[in-house]
Amino acid sequence: MNCIDKDILQRYLDGEMDPDQKAQVDKHLKECQPCRIQLELLQTRAVQIKKALKSLSDKEAVRPLLSSMVDGKRSVIESKELQHKNASGNGWKPVTRLFYGIAVACAIILLFLYTPWIKPEESQDVIQMQAVIQEVDANRPYSEQETVITVIDPDGKVTYLK
């Protein structure tokens, strides 16, 4: 076997290599001292350059207050919400809203429990789920609102159910 290219050694030391290729490299390294030395140099270089760049990190970076950052945006957002309220405004009390919020949450949980397409015991895959409610308006009946349920499986595949 020929000696190993620098970029392959780089991937090797970064652990970015499939097992077959890694086995090949291991085998060659056992037999070839120049490649072992080369690997060691690359390793040291990587560590040193990482360290050098890390030393530039700004330890005093001050995070601006979130409110100061979004304050400019807030007036726009508030007026949007106001319009929304006025359009549907039947002026329910907070307690009623809370009740509706809980009702929506329960409905979603029930939906999950009774939805036939989730049968974890039949499959070895773990299905991870997440419900995201967009714009639940507590001032309107739940039946009139669209609820989008987002299902994300472990591969990151996303399914939207309405």
Binding site: R63, L66, Q130
Partner: protein, 178 residues
């Protein structure tokens, strides 16, 4: 709804946990800021860039967009804005003395070393700089590929070449690596 409701708008992280915008902001600000400072070479532009990134995210989330790959989104947005900034100004490459250096703590030796490192970094192409900075922050090749837009299969090669360049730049300024 209170005005805070938007700050509590939910997003999902890689572990499928619900996160508020505020948590995302608190958890990621410093690291993104560091990447930006190293990219563009000065603190002020870096702060503007990171702020713009978070405002962008905030608008996305408040518009109802579900951001699935939050880290990729944040780093990609930050790097893109850094590239824009570098293109706009073309200043960093010619900048010999980086102003923020003067307010830095540490011994003279460590300050000098930092000047040397910055200068070496400034000699790299923006995308090479991005690779190296992400690499130094221990990101995987996949994450580097996602954030910089470089094909995954060529990250190793490009990284090895960039490390060569950086090594030569540092050596030419008598910076001891070994």
């Amino acid at each position: 709804m209170s005005q805070n409701s938007l700050l509590l708008r939910l997003s999902i992280n890689a572990f499928n946990q619900l996160r508020t915008f505020e948590e995302i902001y608190t958890d990621n600000y410093a690291r993104l800021h560091n990447v930006a400072v190293k990219m563009v070479g000065d603190r002020e532009n870096a702060s503007d860039i990171v702020q713009e990134v978070f405002i962008g995210l905030y608008e996305k989330l408040s518009g109802g967009t579900v951001v699935l790959y939050l880290n990729t989104y944040l780093y990609r947005a930050t790097l893109n804005k850094c590239f824009d900034c570098i293109n706009r100004q073309k200043r960093y490459s010619t900048l010999e003395v980086v102003p923020e250096n003067s307010v830095e703590d540490g011994s003279l030796e460590s300050r000098e070393r930092k000047v040397v490192i910055r200068r070496a970094l400034s000699k790299l192409k923006p995308v090479e700089r991005a690779i190296l900075i992400m690499y130094s922050e221990d990101f995987s090749y996949k994450e580097i590929s996602d954030a910089t837009g470089i094909r995954f299969s060529s990250v190793g090669k490009t990284l090895a070449r960039t490390l060569d360049k950086m090594e030569n730049q540092l050596k030419s300024q008598r910076y001891e690596l070994y």
